[in-house]
Symmetry: C2
Subunit: 406 residues, 2 copies
């Protein structure tokens, strides 16, 4: 039995893009029954790139694994009525609704609560007023693009956008946090509620938590440091044979492992004396980063990747190889079925590929096998029957009226 | 009353750096009693940059807000015994332990479980075997640095490191997810467990969920697209007066708002016809991104920032201004006490500054006010008394033996 730690919990999801679907999928990968409701032709993200040659979205499939899919004509009153009935259906472990659509019309919390008083609704918003914002427009505001990328970019005031939608990914996990916390509270008090979570607030909170807001307010200005890790020693280097690695000396132990691996102990001591710095302190290593970088550069240039990897690994240093995505999927053991988080799935419409399950590993339960994403509307009849008691005949009528497919 | 949604829950934390402390702080900001245990002189992250002029870490303060701090001589058997007693103390809402230290020695799960059978321990790891890895070394492996930054970087195979420790931040939220899910399970079954969460797996799962692994395996190669958003239309532009903004047309609605705001409808229609593309489809907008970009560039170059902002806002377009951190903290209303997520705190050792509470807003409860970070060991006597019944006289003896401070 590997039903997952949230087995029994039921979540209804009306969502698109990254944050909300990822939040739902996180719960689904823990065994919750997550039912995503979409309009008949698919939601806003149904064809989001990357897509296969026949236009199946690998993005959509990636973010909706292990869910059930219900597709209804949500432009019709009858379709919306069915969706509301699913959202507010009874059951101690049900009554959880996740959305990133504006909480008005049929998604109005008060209207939904009138049908189920202890409903927990979580609404993901762009900004806290419900305004339009996505990961990339929020990222521009919080200062990160101006401190990312090559130091030479500072002169021309270059902004470097991130490729990873980091704010979406963090928000997705906070969605799961919010629903679990609210459900815990409901178990103890019987109280439901409307949880709101703005992408903008997630980003602002993160820059605050990392000390960047305090730093800016207290009068210091964070500069752009290219690939150098701020406040300690770490950056990328090229090996003699042109591979690229990153080494990090954040803790003293990591730093000593690096020095040992590269035989730099004496040179580093001498450098510390010359500069009047204590290179056992991370801050002083940052101050001496150019000089230290030059030493490491020299060592790297004299050794091949294989030699570098062997030395660093032997000393337990903290380092990584820069890999392209192609190298990651073909050469890195962690990105293969040797890692129990992964499964080889056969995704309808896309084919066989490696897909990740849940990074959390609960010792008391078996891992939930990695599931595929549903096809659009795959579970409509099944879900309507199970939760609302819609008979086959009734469903046939719905299909005839264009309310549901098939 | 604003005690928070997790009021009553108690979590013991032995941690350093970002992910584990952020996970604990997320629970603390929801009202859980999170008690961080550190060695007497402070943990590995106690002086992590950014720091103030007198070496108070704004980083540490940012990631440990609203917790209680216990400092003990953890090098001594007696200190470790006290820590173990705190971790395994009774209480239905207690018995939750969060760490990113190796689960051996006094942190060995079996040893701890021998004292409290239903203990929930969550261990954050670098890689899944417990090897050394940090956000930056994992980031190098998952392919992101090779698809970040200016397209010209592709020729010289430049890698662009992220500045935001995105993997740490995601992992921090997953810590909270894991603990809440495990505690829910314990409430229902009585079962405790050891939850493991590897930073490496978090990153691998994210690139899988976003479709990047599938894309790489199915034979496509994601290219570097500079500041252009993949698969739709979005990038940065300069206004006539040199400000920088990002505009995004991910959904059709967003795209139409952009075209309306810039008066580009006719030109876009003509372009679509000329290229044989349907620019109402996001993928086709990506295919035509250079031509569309040139049009938008022209419009932006003819308008000042104030004009651009007014037009885009009027049409409800999705856009953002690039701001430095200094601009963010001085000019953006969302980053001020006008945003109820923020509070102005007076952080001992650092001063007054704006700090963020929880992005999640639970309608059924008042917001928990933003708390300061404790000073190191501030709550040692109080916590030992409350949880272990250590008397003042006994505590005095501990101070005399160098086990605790003050």
């Amino acid at each position: 039995m590997s039903k997952g730690i949230l087995s029994g919990m039921r979540v209804i999801e009306a969502s698109a893009f990254v944050a909300a679907p990822l939040g739902g999928m996180t719960l689904a990968q823990m065994g919750a029954d997550v039912i995503r409701i979409d309009p008949l032709g698919g939601g806003l993200d149904h064809r989001r790139w990357p897509v296969t040659a026949d236009n199946t979205s690998l993005f959509w499939c990636g973010l909706n694994k292990s869910k059930r899919s219900v597709a209804l004509d949500l432009a019709s009153a009858e379709g919306r009525e069915l969706a509301m009935a699913l959202i507010t259906a009874p059951g101690e472990d049900a009554g959880l609704f996740l959305t990133n659509f504006p909480p008005r019309g049929w998604l109005d919390h008060d209207k939904l609560r009138a049908r189920r008083e202890d409903l927990i609704q979580l609404t993901v918003q762009g900004d806290r007023h419900g305004g339009s914002a996505v990961d990339y427009t929020i990222n521009s505001r919080v200062g990160i693009p101006y401190i990312t990328g090559d130091e030479r970019g500072a002169a021309t005031n270059e902004a470097v956008n991130h490729v990873l939608p980091a704010w979406d990914l963090i928000t997705g996990q906070m969605v799961a946090v919010g629903l679990l916390a609210a459900e815990r509270h409901r178990l103890k008090t019987g109280q439901g509620q409307h949880v709101k979570l703005a992408l903008e607030d997630v980003a602002l909170a993160a820059v605050s938590h990392l000390g960047l807001i305090a730093e800016a307010q207290l009068g210091q200005q964070r500069e752009r440091h290219g690939n150098e890790l701020f406040g300690a020693f770490g950056r990328d280097f090229k090996t003699a044979d042109g591979e690229r690695v990153i080494v990090v000396g954040l803790t003293l132990k990591q730093w000593q492992a690096l020095c040992d691996a590269m035989g730099l102990n004496e040179a580093v001591s001498a450098l510390g004396e010359r500069l009047g710095l204590d290179l056992n302190l991370e801050g002083d290593r940052f101050r001496a980063r150019k000089e230290l970088g030059a030493m490491v550069e020299g060592w790297m240039a004299r050794h091949t990747y294989v030699e570098v990897a062997a030395s660093l690994t032997k000393q337990g240093a903290c380092w990584g190889r820069y890999q392209t995505l192609a190298e990651l999927v073909t050469q890195d053991e962690a990105c293969s079925v040797a890692n129990p988080m992964f499964g080889l799935i056969d995704q309808p419409g896309a084919g066989k590929y490696l897909a990740a399950g849940l990074p959390l590993n609960f010792s008391g339960l078996e891992r939930v096998p990695v599931g595929v994403a549903p096809t659009l509307g795959q579970h409509t009849a099944e879900v309507l029957s199970e939760i609302l008691g819609i008979t086959q005949a009734q469903y046939g009528g719905m299909v005839d009226r264009g309310l549901a497919a098939r």
